[in-house]
Amino acid sequence: MSATPPGRIGPQGASLPSLRRLLEPLGHRRALATALLFMLTVVPKPVVPPGPGDSLAAPRPSSAPHFACLERLVPVGATVAFFTEPDGTARLEAPMPLYFSQFQLAPRLLVVRPPETWRSGDVDWFLGTVPDPSQARALAAQHGLRVAGQCGPWTALERLR
């Protein structure tokens, strides 16, 4: 009397050629499923959809020369007000430029301060990207600051002492 063991699809011969012996496990439902799983994992998704960070401009060290220049200019312990507009405000379509600048300038603290507080506030350094250097000079004069330097697109303003 013979019984088919659980999980086995068909009867097995007593002596098998080597190929049959090799393929013998596939006669079992569970082994077949395992083989199928291994084969499925070899096939990747056709296109990996973009992740949450992929739509952003990839932060790369290519802008490092500008930041190396700024690191020489701005003291390590400084708190720095960040601006993007000629009137001293910070307008960001996406926050990544602020995050990336903070990353590059750490341990300097990059903060956003309304321009009306610049003259009497707690911040002595101001860093921004304005297209025209004359706009930076005007901004400095308006708030009692001086232009400390230019690093690529970045203008650094410092409080007059």
Binding site: R29, P44, P52
Partner: protein, 490 residues
Amino acid sequence: MTLLAALLLPAWIGVAVAGACGAFARSVSASGRVLGAIVALPVGLGLTSALAFAWMAAMRQRVGTAGEVGLELLLAALVSIAWWARRGRHGGPQAASPSTPRPAPLLVGLGSLALATGLWRLFRDWMVVTWRQPLGGWDAVAIWNLKARFLASAEGWSRAFSSEIAWSHPDYPLLLPAFFARTWIWLGDRSWVVPAATGLAFLLLAVALATVSVYRLRGPVPALVAGVLVCGVAHTSLRFHQYADMPLAFWFLAVNVLLLENAVRPRQRGTLVFAGLAAGAMVWTKNEGWAMLLALLASEAITAWRDRLPAGELRARALAFGAGLAPLAATTVVFKLTLAPTNDLVEGVAWGGLADAGRLATIASRLASDVLSFGPFRVSLAVLVAGLVLVMGAAVPPALRSAAFSLALRLAGVMAAYGFTFAVTPRPLEWHLATTVERLLSHLFPSAVLLATLAMGPIGDPALQPPGEPPHRQADDGGAGERRPGAGVR
């Protein structure tokens, strides 16, 4: 040379701690030693990170960098002595080699090919993503590596916790940032290589840990299944590379693996100490680690009650686990109490969300949809795992049933905690779900794969593998181990 020293010392500390916990005792098999080494390396990283943080917060101004090096050397010496003392105490005869079932060559070949392909694809795509974003993805730049840059500076390190940069989540734990900062200080250079290489190491170690663990508990073919599937999780995590999510997934997997190991060899208290260390690393890595720790304690308590574990045994287990948990959990608590501002989700918690049926339905629907689409394969990873369990049936070896039950409970517990967090989040729900669910699932999938492969019915000829018995005779305790009372066949 300095880089080598900066990496070798944490590695040695981890190996010595593992040795002191009995991971390399003479009676432990080769696969057991490999498993110990896989967990040891990140444990060394975690302990070094906590030590570096203590030095930054309390001693840097007084003792300088040499003081930090001295502290690490002191820790290395202490754990080495503990290891040496343990070797002296437990040096026994070599245990008999475990008997292994005859694996089907075709399945082993297919599985090895799938794993090799997965690892190659993982490494290739890691190279591509690192080339594109060497400084890491969004949160790596805005949170994890940014904190490391602050911590690396003697003058401005405490600014990492300023409320002025609340967007960088100043309350987040510091296992990765403190380790990166410490290594940068040693090197004298804030190289992007340190976070990038650490991230890759955690991915590869997660795959290795799942593979070796399942090999020990269920044999080679289930091990290859686990390796291939966890490799898929690691590949998916390249979408958020250099984040702390995969390190957290590694720690959660490590705790679960070590508790399963302990279920087979319950007298080896060192395994529980080691599991406690990994649990401490969970909370020192990410805030989600607290949800995992709570789920872990709850699931173990329920399982102990269900198995009617004697009070003395329970106390001894809790003490061993607590001894391991203490160093990194205490570091995290001190950080939270002294430097970290209040977490933004806790501060603005919106309890009303719990009673909002529409909101709960949105959360459930999003979680289900992301579970069903997770993974880098054409067929979702969840479908593969579910299909595997359906076809194979569940046949957990008796010695592992309680531990597997506990693991299933805590996976459900952590998932429920994540769902709860979404229900009460003060952030816009759709945005919060869209930016976090995939990462949260990556915390759980490696451990879910571990559970599924553990529960797999026997593959191939049942005559080779007695039903209900693990394929390996568990001889790592040299015959000293006993099954936990009540953990046998029910």
